[in-house]
Amino acid sequence: MSDGEWKPMIQAIICNWCSYAGADLAGGARIQYPPDVRAIRVMCTGRVDPLFIMKALQDGADGVLISGCHFGDCHYLEGNFKCAKRMFMIKTILKNLGLDDRRVRMTFVSASEGAKWGMVMEDVINTITELGPSPLKK
């Protein structure tokens, strides 16, 4: 970065059918939000292995966002639901590690919710910025 001030590094893993489409829609509508999130596309949030989240945190991510379809909208019936269940487990582990569990979050953004994607981005970035750099950063 040119200026010294800290900016959060946030890893997003989002599903192809809802959240990725929603994020694209936000683009089409030119909804502006800060650029601190980097998204990886998977077909379904069901694909998200807890290990991915742990790896991101270990690599020093200040926050991790998982975003999928609303319940009932999953392109694969209930992958998002299965992922959501895993999130509880992950958040517990985070607490045990002494990490603030707000650093990992799951949201549900549909293909038609471009504006909501923008709000999610704002919100996630603000939350993580408040929490400051991850203690796991090397």
Partner: protein, 673 residues
């Protein structure tokens, strides 16, 4: 990359005119890409999707012997197929291609942060390169397509789609929840702007549908469940208990020459009287009924909610033995390759806008009620009378945008698109039928956008209808005469308006029908903000949906008039016919694979799979998981859970995803080490 193959990646950055280049430094990103491990060549171009842009890819593969391609441009949801083809043309397996989205999710959303956007683009490229370095050759799965299609909804849209599919030689199932096909259009009297009789142009189509050998018509039926995917949908249809057997059904039961012939003797003797929903409740029907003379099929139906099972109809039916008062719902399983959804619309409950007094004042009616009142086959034989006293109205007001273009949360934010035109038509019909009658149209804008629509507007103006540019504020009823006073402002005259009318017609907004939620979940179709079904792309793929093999026709996708509905139906039909005529579809080869060395045979994944594609099998003396690729849709839920990491999700392997994560987080923001 398989084995010890060294990554040789080519990176191509698209300007997309100024869409991308305008908001971030393409050159900087390209120079940065060159520094990345495995990158042999990096290039940039105005429009990568153009022919010269694509040939850059092919040429580079040839020139530098590349084994991985990264294009940083728009969303993969838009151009991934394009660049996969380009990669293939260059002689590489198309799945050696990875896309970095630096437009929809970068340049368009960070237009005022050039530095941030450029950093993000660099990261995106680095992440894509990391994945590209690990991509493998994949062979798409090709499946046979069932030579049959399903159309849900028997309105004009569904009928048109069914006819087109059937006429192109495809076995087509047409499922209609109601007792007859025809839908809303069959309730209309005349159609704008040509003024031809709706039934006259509709019934031939209805008859065609009834006769067509390739169409299996299932009225009084609904989709119960949907399984499978493009090419092979397994669908369960619920045939609701009709209480009456068709000749075929009767024959099947050994009743020779029996079954319903539509004679109606049963209805004549039926003692139960109900409101006829087809006539908007303004005419009676019996508990055993047909809604109107032109129904297809000509089979009576028993409304078991009101039937008292007195048995008189059974006697009246006599030897035909068509009636079975104990009939129960039946389920039929069908297999189809593609599906067209055409579930249409329902009227917005306009009484919610209480200022207009619908359902409070007798002489305030909706446009659809007007259609029945003015229709020769309607409850009044086409004599327009007002509900309160049967008198012929001499002064009629039309409230346009009754619930449309309303973002208070009570109404509908969108334009319902055909109310302006049918109100113009109604005005014409009154002027034509009732000499000297006065017609007032209270409007905000007249949206006469279709072919010959504006001309129709001229015509109605010249016929003497009075257009008052003001949205109706409220309506009051004179308790004695039941006459109505309409209040608004003539915004052009800039004077408040107080017009007495004998009758007021509300051009009520339309909304998605109640069962939309069920249908969309069955077929995995998303909703747009306004509650209508979401098309795959608003401009370039208005008939498709995010579920391959499922298409949309007519109003279910958004308000449309008849011509637009028919046009989209034909579009949806041809789109649905293509895979069927091709005979095969290629599915992206994102299936799960079991790495047997690592599989502990715990079987957790087996229960997780929504498609029961996984099973435990005995292999060299131990249990391992086995994938039925035909069933696997590649969601990766199993791979996301496998405790031993024994499941490999093709094209989304843990290795690849972890590499992407590392690339982002360990690579340093914007490449800054």
């Amino acid at each position: 990359m398989t084995g010890n193959e060294k990554p040789r990646i080519g990176v191509f950055i698209c300007h997309c005119g100024t869409n991308i280049a305008g908001s971030l430094d393409v050159n900087d990103v390209m120079e940065y890409a060159k520094t990345l491990p495995g990158v042999i060549v990096a290039d940039q171009y105005q429009y990568m999707c153009s022919t010269p842009g694509q040939s850059k890819i092919a040429d580079a593969i040839d020139e530098h012997d590349l084994n991985g391609i990264v294009v940083a441009a728009c969303s993969p949801r838009l151009h991934e197929p394009t660049f996969r083809t380009a990669t293939k043309v260059g002689g590489l397996n198309p799945f050696r291609f990875e896309m970095a989205n630096i437009r929809e999710q970068n340049s368009w959303v960070h237009m005022h942060d050039r530095e941030g956007a450029t950093e993000k683009a660099k990261d995106a490229v680095r992440i894509a390169v990391a994945k590209a370095s690990l991509l493998e050759d994949l062979i798409p799965k090709s499946v046979d397509v069932e030579h049959a299609a399903l159309v849900v909804g028997g309105g004009i849209g569904g009928m048109q789609a069914a006819l087109d599919l059937a006429n192109s030689g495809i076995k087509t199932y047409l499922v209609e929840k109601d007792t007859s096909i025809g839908g809303r259009m069959s309730q209309l009297d005349k159609t704008f702007p040509t003024l031809d009789c709706s039934q006259c142009i509709l019934t031939p189509k209805m008859v065609d549908v009834g006769r067509n050998e390739n169409i299996e018509l299932m009225t009084w039926s609904e989709v119960e469940s949907v399984d499978g995917f493009i090419g092979n949908f397994d669908i369960k249809i619920r045939k609701k208990a009709r209480g009456v057997m068709t000749p075929d059904e009767a024959e099947a039961k050994g009743i020779v020459g029996g079954g319903c012939n539509g004679c109606g003797d049963c209805a004549n003797v039926c003692p139960v009287v109900k409101g006829n929903e087809f006539e908007m409740g303004m005419a009676p029907r019996k508990a055993i009924y047909i809604n109107h003379p032109q129904v297809i099929p000509q089979i009576y139906t028993i409304d078991f909610n009101s039937c008292v099972k007195c048995g008189l109809c059974v006697e009246a039916c006599g030897d035909k033995k068509a009636i079975d008062l104990e009939m129960e719902d039946q389920f039929v399983d069908i297999k189809v390759g593609t599906v067209v959804i055409a579930t249409g619309y329902e009227l917005f409950p306009v009484e919610v806008k209480s200022e207009w007094g619908y359902k409070r004042f007798d002489n305030v009616i909706t446009g659809l009620e007007f259609e029945r009142l003015i229709c020769a086959s309607g409850p009044t034989g086409g004599k327009l009378i007002r509900p309160s006293d049967g008198v012929i109205p001499q002064k009629v007001g039309f409230v346009l945008c009754a619930g449309s273009r309303d973002n208070t949360g009570e109404g509908k934010p969108y334009c319902s698109r055909f109310c302006c035109m049918y109100s113009l038509k109604h005005a014409h019909q009154i002027i034509e039928k009732i000499p000297g009658a006065k017609v007032y149209l209270f409007y905000m804008d007249i949206r006469s956008f279709g072919k010959m629509y504006e001309e129709f507007y001229y015509r109605i103006q010249s016929e003497g209808a009075k257009f008052i540019r003001g949205r109706v504020a409220n309506i009051l009823e004179d308790p004695l005469t039941k006459n109505l006073t309409v209040f608004t402002e003539d915004t052009l005259l800039q004077r408040p308006v107080n017009v007495e009318c004998d009758m007021v017609v509300l051009a009520a907004a339309i909304q998605p029908p109640a069962q939309t939620e069920v249908v969309r979940r069955q077929f995995g179709v998303s909703l747009s903000q306004d509650g209508w079904l979401l098309e795959a792309h608003p401009k370039l793929n208005p008939c498709g949906t995010t579920t391959a093999g499922v298409f949309l026709a007519g109003v279910c996708q958004g308000p449309k008039d008849i011509p637009d509905t028919v046009a989209q139906a034909e579009g949806a039909a041809s789109a649905a016919a293509i895979p069927i005529h091709m005979g095969k579809v290629e599915l992206e080869p994102y299936f799960a694979q079991c790495i047997e060395e690592l599989c502990a045979g715990c079987g957790m994944c087996v229960n997780l799979c929504p498609y029961s594609a996984l099973a435990l099998v005995e292999k060299d003396g131990r249990q391992v998981m086995q994938v039925t690729e035909a069933k696997c849709k590649g969601c990766g839920t199993c791979g996301g859970f496998c405790p031993g990491g024994a499941i490999k999700m093709q094209h989304f392997t843990s290795q690849q995803i972890v590499a992407q994560i590392d690339a982002f987080l360990l690579g340093g923001r914007g490449g800054a080490q």
